[in-house]
């Protein structure tokens, strides 16, 4: 198992029929190659590359944070920072009791509003469909939103949530992670929110290095000391 080895597109990873291609790896004959810049990870017989760059590719079940960009007659168009814009239907927002005569879409959500939603439907033939029905889902009115590369989300979460829990605890903030690379932070004070935002940016820059959790811990503690003064 090679950890932390950076591989590039077209790089030969392994040869031999006993290996299977995982994410960001493709097979050509008996050989497995990387298709993205990332970190090589071989688990049992599956060879994957944890990408360091890339757009968010929507998956059913993912929680995402999106921005309303257009209002139609029966739905909103939502930008979820993926190659495909998403759709939120009025019937979902108004819990199936949408009355065009009474309910106004634009009064409920207008362009620029942010929402936390879940992808309920998506395939190659249609754009992702969202729902805001569910715990933690809905409009976002407080706090700040930070953007980072979706491929760095796993690093942000950490092993068994170690990194994200550290941020929540040390930053005294509620943090909602959108799999599409948008993070919603709500804290007791704007300074705490800002500190967490900076920590997230640092994680994005240094995602491929070792000892990151410790450095972030130090960063958060130092930041809290400074903000107290």
């Amino acid at each position: 198992m090679s950890e932390r080895k950076i591989v590039l597109p077209g790089e030969l990873l392994v040869e031999g029929g006993e290996y299977q291609p995982g994410s960001n790896v493709f097979k050509y004959g008996e050989r497995l190659y990387a298709s993205k810049i990332g970190i090589l990870s071989i688990v049992k017989q599956t060879v994957s590359v944890i990408a360091l760059h890339g757009v968010y590719e929507p998956k059913v079940g993912d929680t995402v944070i999106g921005k309303i960009v257009d209002v139609g007659a029966f739905s909103w168009t939502v930008d979820i920072r993926s190659p495909y814009t998403a759709v939120l239907n009025a019937s979902d927002y108004f819990k199936g009791r949408f009355n065009p005569a009474k309910d106004s879409l634009i009064k409920a959500l207008k362009p620029g509003d942010m929402i936390v939603a879940q992808i309920v439907d998506f395939d190659r033939t249609k754009n992702p469909v969202l729902t805001v029905q569910g715990p933690g889902l809905g409009g976002v009115t407080k706090g700040i939103i930070v953007e980072l590369s979706p491929s760095k989300i796993p690093r942000l979460i950490g092993k068994k949530g170690s990194m994200i829990n550290l941020l929540k605890k040390e930053g005294k903030c509620q943090i909602t992670i959108g799999k599409n690379g948008l993070i919603h932070i709500v804290g007791e004070k704007p300074e705490y929110e800002e500190l967490v935002a900076q920590a997230i940016k640092k994680i994005e820059r240094e995602a491929h290095t070792t000892g990151l959790t410790d450095r972030i811990m130090k960063f958060m503690k130092k930041g809290r000391e400074l903000s107290v003064n």
Binding site: G10, Y33, E57, S149
Partner: protein, 236 residues
């Protein structure tokens, strides 16, 4: 023997010009790269995959690639008008085609991947430098690729087969041949000949081109890797 032939800029026949490659130079683009080969300077930005409008241009089962090769008016010896010339139209097509072979287009149906190339200074080999930069920019954008595409031109100049022609050599050459290859897969994705060659000369030139592409590929990989080796954990 050809190897004793010294070129206008002092190079040997099989020598590349000095090369500089940088990735991630633009902030707004999804991916970007800047490449210098000798005095030729190109800048590439990649946007996408992104939804394609108008929809009728989109393909239901794959992304389409749109490529614009454009030369800045101040890039050439005499000022070039900003309007697309026929040469730019042709080069946009061949570069698009050379790069498309490397991209897993089927991963992103109904979208487009837009590649914008600006030649800032032209001194020969602009389409090759563009392809080299496009590969870096696409990898930088995290678009899944089969391989990096590596490109260089060879030619016949005063009877000698030479590698990586500059503009002066290009104008006077009996033949010039830009080539691009995906080395891991042994797939040539750009091949043009402008000029006259015997079959024997073609073989010699083509083999030299492949050697040159391999060296370019090595430099591209080094460039991508160095982005990460230079970021160590920062204690701040």
């Amino acid at each position: 023997m050809s190897t004793e032939f010294v070129r206008v800029d002092g190079r040997l026949p099989d020598q590349l010009r000095p090369i500089k490659m940088v990735v991630g130079v633009l902030d707004r683009a999804d991916g970007s790269a800047y490449v210098e080969q000798g005095n030729t300077k190109v800048l590439v930005a990649v946007y996408g995959p992104r939804e394609l409008h108008p929809k009728h241009q989109a393909s239901p089962d794959s992304a389409i690639v749109r490529c614009r090769y454009h030369m800045a008016p101040f890039s050439t010896k005499e000022r070039k008008t900003p309007a697309p010339s026929r040469r730019e139209i042709e080069l946009s097509k061949v570069i698009k085609d050379a790069m498309s072979q490397a991209i897993f287009l089927e991963n992103f149906p109904r979208t487009s991947i837009d590649v914008f190339i600006e030649v800032l200074e032209a001194d020969g080999g602009t389409r090759c430098a563009s392809i080299n930069a496009c590969s870096l920019a696409l990898a930088n954008a995290g678009i899944p690729l089969r391989d990096l595409v590596s490109s260089v031109a060879v030619g016949k100049y005063k009877g000698h087969i030479i590698l990586d022609l500059n503009d002066e050599e290009d104008e006077a050459a009996e033949a010039d041949m830009p080539v691009a290859i995906m080395p891991s897969l042994n797939k040539v994705t750009l091949l043009q000949v402008n000029g006259v060659l015997t079959e024997e000369e073609f073989k010699q030139a083509f083999n030299l081109a492949i050697k040159g592409c391999m060296e370019i590929n090595r430099i591209q990989r080094e460039t991508l890797r160095s982005v990460y080796s230079s970021i160590k954990g920062e204690e701040d």
